[in-house]
Subunit: 209 residues, 2 copies
């Protein structure tokens, strides 16, 4: 499908066809598309847990304020950001060096500057959320292209999710995304702020103070 049509037609879905599953390969492909997103210094802090079993999805629903879509979707992803991604950066960038894309000295500089920045836990957290959300949007865009619908959720209990799904402390649960085939009854697209309400030119003087 055409890109702009996909961006325009994507809606945040609540209603999923509970009779239609996704294969592990279909789920893997969605995650592969997510990883096409950019990240600071190619840090790739994103991780995904695909929750597909009915009992598991009910358990996840229990730490997501009972949102039924968590249990109804073919898969609900727990999307995580690695708070310690900078520790892995030498390995990650080593692949760009091996591919002849990045000089070793530049890789070393990026590792040093990113590890220094992420010594500040707030910066590590900001980056874990930022890059992981870029990947989440790529995942939802690819899903829409395939005729699937997605329901992103920021409202859930991250500590409960970590406990119930054996998620190590280094990972921050950033969002949940339910993905599957649609059932009837999804909301239409909700109105957006106009461009004039969200864009200014030159500086921030005209932004709502």
């Amino acid at each position: 499908m055409e890109t702009l049509e996909v961006l325009k037609n994507r809606v945040s879905a609540n209603k999923f066809d509970t009779t239609r599953k996704l294969s592990d390969d279909e789920i893997r492909e969605l995650v592969a598309w997510a990883t096409e997103a950019p990240s600071s210094a190619n840090l790739q802090p994103w991780r995904f847990i695909a929750v597909t079993g009915q009992e598991e999805k009910e358990r996840l629903k229990g730490v997501a304020y009972g949102q039924q879509k968590v249990a109804d979707a073919a898969v609900t992803f727990i999307v995580l950001g690695d708070l310690r991604a900078a520790e892995r950066l030498a390995d990650v960038l080593g692949r760009s060096v091996a591919a002849g894309i990045l000089p070793q000295t530049m890789a070393d500089g990026l590792v040093r500057s990113m590890q220094s920045a992420h010594a500040d836990p707030q910066k590590a957290r900001d980056e874990a959320i930022r890059s992981t959300a870029l990947a989440a949007m790529a995942l939802m865009t690819a899903a829409a292209d395939k005729g699937l619908v997605s329901g992103p959720m920021g409202g859930f209990d991250p500590e409960g999710a970590k406990r119930e799904f054996a998620i190590p402390d280094r990972y921050l649960p950033v969002m949940l995304i339910a993905v599957g085939h649609p059932a009837p009854g999804n909301w239409p697209r909700k109105p957006r702020l106009t461009v004039d309400e969200v864009l200014t030119f030159h500086d921030g003087k005209d932004l709502q103070p």
Copy 2:
């Protein structure tokens, strides 16, 4: 262009054709596509400052560790997240109520729960980054569809950007995105972690501890 082709071909660009500008209308259209992204409770915390003048771009480069793409791109967006977005939610959701999409009681409930959650500054910050990054990915995807290239940047001085561009304190500078026509010499796509390195099924037991 086809969606998946666009996701696959997008690269983080450093080299921009300094002779080719974008019109204000082209910039407005990119932001309109960004706003098609989802956000928690339709909060839409994203704001954009389009920096287009040469002197302005040089000033922005000065608070972005001298990254030349900031000055070379036709436009560099300062992408902001509103830390006080919950205060505006009644207005935002009122439009969904007026459009007959959302019942008033549900809008009221969302406003209450979001304002209560965002009384915690960390939650407001997380949400400002998360939803704004979703919009940023939509913007870069739309730009790629139009044959433009984009260079997202997490590394810059947010306090310096606020000072130089008169950005009110309620807005968190989340990232910069340089957008324009490409010049020769951009990096190829850098290698990604494999799907098996970022995806697990069922729970987090197999994630790197």
